[in-house]
């Protein structure tokens, strides 16, 4: 019965437009427009940061000035004017908040619309054993609320905005920040290092299995604002954490820049499972507006038997430029990448992964499903590199592309570099379209054309959807349907 109800709801929501496109009128504290050393200092001062961090930001900023915007990805967009962006915008707060009740009701309204169970009491009042998720919500440039902190602290897990971590755990931040993605890494990561405003920080101590899934919701709200968040997750020896990330933005007819950096550090026997449902505003069907999503995500499997798993569902953004990577340093370490990238209308996605095998017996799996509809372009770009010492390393890659309509494109650009005789690398890729027979079969069973398409596409993505945590999987499945709306008929 419940399942039938859910199906009805799902089918109903398939016909929704981009439902996160609302704009909230929240008073914001904003830095002057543009980028300069003064802005970097302004952000650092706002965050009450220590001297070393300001110095680090300035080093990054000065380095950024010497860099050129990368042009190798198969994405096309007008040149970004980095002086026409607000680098800091924070919902205005009157004094320190004592409880969530004092939060701007508009803000709570936003979270309600986003479907985030932000209020601790509500969640705590839930049935015993109910599914709990600790949430950190980042609104434009700052983290507005983090739930479940007390419960997590019992286990020694630190989960807080990164700005708070800088204040309360400077030794950890100093040790790990920039250790996986150095400030010189690439154009957008360097920019992020200079102007990052907030993000999440997680620290899982030795031997701890994080008692609940950790989640961050990113929301761009203010106009003309860039969002530059930085996430740092450290899993000490033998620990485990599952981390979820969701992103939305209002519908605006301008392009907004999102350049995030995510660093994961995984010690011996530890595991991080990192899941993303990226649903930034993709722009309208004519390609007006939408988010430019230029993200650097990298995990360092430093210890033996460490494991990292990236799962991503990329449905939003006008342009996605993102390659979650794994550096498999520790012997026997494991890297996984499961991805669904859906592009419709005028969207462009250039996404994939890098698997750098350095240790012995390291193994990696890449499953990438690209779906292209409308006039969209979807590119898988990935690297598998077996270092000289990567004895008996293994990689298996599957890239499948599905084309819907004859105006879209699907591209596959894998780089495979092998320096290890005993390594085994397998790569396969296919491109196909949804067959008339499949559609006809579904329609014959009473589904509309769009429902049939959503069903078939969900089947195509199933391998990856199954890797998502349950709550996310349901949302992702609906998203798959919504994203492809208007792509048939």
């Amino acid at each position: 019965m419940a399942i039938a109800q859910e199906t009805v709801e799902q089918v109903a929501s398939v016909s929704e437009k981009y439902k996160y496109g609302f704009v909230s009128d929240i008073e914001a504290d904003t830095a002057p427009i543009g980028l300069s050393e003064d802005i970097v200092r302004f952000i650092s001062a706002k965050k009450e940061e220590p001297e070393w961090l300001l110095e680090w930001r300035l080093k990054a900023y000065r380095h950024w000035l010497t860099m050129e915007e990368p042009e190798w990805a198969s994405v096309h967009y007008p040149k970004i004017d980095f002086q026409d962006i607000y680098y800091y915008s924070a919902p205005k707060v009157k004094d320190k908040l004592k409880s969530l009740d004092e939060v701007d009701p508009e803000l709570l309204e936003v979270y309600k619309k986003l479907g985030i169970p932000l209020r601790e009491q509500e969640v705590l009042a839930g049935v015993e054993g109910a599914y709990n998720v600790a949430v950190d919500a980042v609104f434009d440039s700052v983290s507005v609320a983090t739930t479940f902190k007390a419960r997590l602290e019992e286990d020694g897990v630190i989960f807080c905005p990164i700005s708070e971590a800088v204040r309360d755990h400077p030794e950890l931040v100093k040790k790990y920040m920039g250790s996986v993605v150095p400030y010189t890494d690439n154009y957008y990561a360097t920019l992020n290092s200079a102007v990052f405003t907030d993000g999440s920080f997680c620290y899982i101590p030795k031997g701890v299995r994080c008692p609940m899934e950790l989640s961050t919701y990113f929301r761009i709200n203010a106009a003309q604002t860039g969002q530059f968040e930085r996430t740092l997750i450290i899993a000490e020896e033998g620990s485990y954490v599952s981390y979820l990330e969701g992103c939305t933005a209002p519908m605006r007819d301008e392009n907004q820049l999102h350049a995030a950096v995510v660093e994961l550090i995984i010690d011996k026997d530890a595991e991080i499972k990192y899941s993303t449902v990226q649903n930034w505003y993709p722009g309208d069907e004519n390609g007006i507006g939408g988010i430019f999503n230029f993200v650097t995500k990298r995990a360092a499997c430093r210890g033996e038997n460490s494991k990292v798993s990236w799962t991503q569902v990329e449905t939003g953004s006008a342009i996605t430029w993102k390659y979650p990577s794994c550096i498999l340093q520790g012997d026997n370490s494991v890297g996984e990448f499961y991805s669904i990238a859906i592009t419709n209308n005028m969207q462009q996605a250039d996404t994939g992964t890098k698997m750098i095998h350095l240790g012995k017996n390291t193994s990696s799996t890449i499953i990438s499903k690209g779906i292209s509809a409308g006039r969209a372009q979807n590119t898988y770009r990935g690297l598998v590199r077996m270092g000289r010492k990567a004895e008996n390393a293994r990689n298996h890659t599957v890239c499948d592309s599905l084309l819907i309509g004859d105006k879209c494109g699907a591209h596959t650009v894998p780089y495979i570099e092998n320096q290890s005789r005993t390594a085994k690398i397998e790569h396969e890729a296919t491109t196909s379209k949804v067959s008339e027979e499949q559609l006809f079969y579904c329609q014959q069973r009473g589904l509309t054309e769009e429902e049939s398409m959503a069903l078939i596409v969900n089947g195509f993505c199933k391998e990856v959807l199954q890797k998502l945590p349950m709550e996310f999987a349901v949302e992702a499945q609906k998203l798959v349907g919504i994203s492809l709306e208007g792509s048939v008929g």
Partner: protein
């Protein structure tokens, strides 16, 4: 502005003098083509590793200028008998070493230098090719073969063209330009060999331009067995019209550094492009196979199988791009690249690329890289076969997948013989 590499500077400084004695210098069309190409090359220089298409192949050892390295002169390990042979020695047609008598009517096989000097300058199309290595070839092309086949001509025996580097060479570069056109419905096999009878280092830069008219069927086999201090940068472009078939097999065993770049462009329905090859490398050798297959119209096929065997410190590169244009529906494109690493120091880089703008297509690519199967080795040894023989058997079997694609029986036997001889030296 970056300074040009020494070799590029050398070429550019020689150009004005050279152009007066190169074939076709009487023709303003050829001269203009050479000058345009010179300018294109001057703007780019030789490609370096920052050029995406060349990221895995570093030409630095060539571009700093060819040294005085001397290699052992390779001895022919297998032979093939064909009635018609055309021979080029040190980049120039050598009539004494050729036998072109008795070619059937409708088949013309001539030297490019002779054609250009006779005023047949329409052979050179003045399209400004952006590839630096091709531009260099156009600017300095000195000779090559011109094969023109009339409609509905079939020749069963393969034509054989040999490019030999012999001693007494004054110049250490050979920019060969070959032009092939097969008329409607004609069918022909051509075996092209690049070998050396001398150990000096040289730079071979052949460019082959092929046009296949409706229904033409061209089997094009290439052996690259340059000496082990030579550089070989080859480009082959093939245009396929309706129902044309192009079959290419390239066997590479020679050269210090080689790149075999094949670009096929399909503009006809029912056309088929088949590119296969094998490369066997050892020592410090570097082999690069780069293919680009352009499907520009609906209803045609392409397939590729490349196998590489890499020993010692050798490096293998495979880059294969399948491009399917918008509206090129009902196209199938398949590609497979497999490399076998026999040594801990050998490396392989692979970039199989799909670029697809049409939806009703079937495309796939596969790439693997790894060592010999331990289980298979063990199995053979447990049947009383010694380890060395077992390894050879497995490598031969590995290569057979590609070799079996050669549809001309004589060439298949010839190439297999060369591969077997290569394995014996291990």
């Amino acid at each position: 502005m970056n300074t040009l590499t020494p070799l590029a500077q050398d070429y550019l400084s020689r150009f004005d003098t050279a152009i007066g004695s190169l074939p076709g210098h009487q023709s303003s069309l050829v001269t203009t083509a050479r000058q345009t190409a010179r300018d294109i090359f001057a703007r780019q220089d030789f490609p370096n590793k920052r050029v995406e298409e060349w990221r895995f192949t570093n030409l630095a050892s060539l571009t700093k200028g060819i040294g005085d390295d001397i290699a052992e002169v390779p001895s022919a390990s297998a032979s093939i008998e064909t009635p018609h042979v055309m021979t080029f020695v040190n980049g120039r047609f050598d009539a004494g070493k050729s036998s072109l008598d008795g070619l059937p009517d409708g088949i013309r096989l001539t030297s490019l230098a002779a054609e250009l000097d006779a005023g047949n300058d329409s052979l050179i199309n003045n399209s400004a090719d952006h590839r630096a290595v091709v531009a260099l070839n156009t600017a300095f092309m000195e000779d090559g073969y011109v094969l023109d086949v009339a409609a509905n001509i079939t020749l069963d025996q393969p034509l054989r063209v040999r490019f030999v580097s012999a001693s007494g060479s004054v110049q250490n570069a050979r920019h060969m330009r070959n032009i092939i056109r097969l008329g409607d419905g004609s069918s022909l096999t051509l075996l092209e060999e690049h070998t050396a009878e001398d150990g000096h280092s040289y730079f071979a830069n052949p460019m082959t331009d092929i046009t296949l008219e409706d229904g033409a069927n061209f089997r094009h086999y290439k052996l690259q067995d340059e000496n082990l201090v030579a550089y070989h940068l080859a480009n082959t472009d093939c245009l396929l019209k309706d129902n044309a078939t192009y079959e290419n097999f390239s066997l590479a065993v020679g050269a210090k550094l080689s790149r075999n770049e094949l670009t096929t462009t399909i503009v006809g329905a029912g056309a088929t492009s088949i590119l296969n090859g094998a490369y066997l490398m050892r020592g410090q050798q570097h082999s690069d196979t780069t293919t680009v297959t352009n499907h520009l119209v609906p209803e045609n096929d392409s397939r590729q199988v490349y196998k590489g065997v890499l020993d010692d410190d050798s490096r293998g590169v495979f880059q294969g791009k399948i491009h399917i244009a918008e509206n090129a529906q009902q196209v199938s494109g398949d590609q497979l690249s497999k490399a076998l690493l026999l040594s801990d120091r050998a490396t392989m880089a692979c970039k199989p690329e799909l670029q697809i703008y049409a939806d009703d297509v079937k495309c796939s690519h596969g790439a693997t890289s790894g060592e010999l199967d331990e289980d298979a080795l063990f199995y053979l040894q447990s049947r009383g076969i010694d380890a060395v023989t077992a390894r050879k058997m497995l490598i031969e079997a590995f290569l057979a997948d590609a070799m079996d694609e050669i549809s001309d029986e004589a060439v298949k036997v010839y190439f297999s013989g060369i591969a077997t001889a290569w394995l014996q030296k291990a």
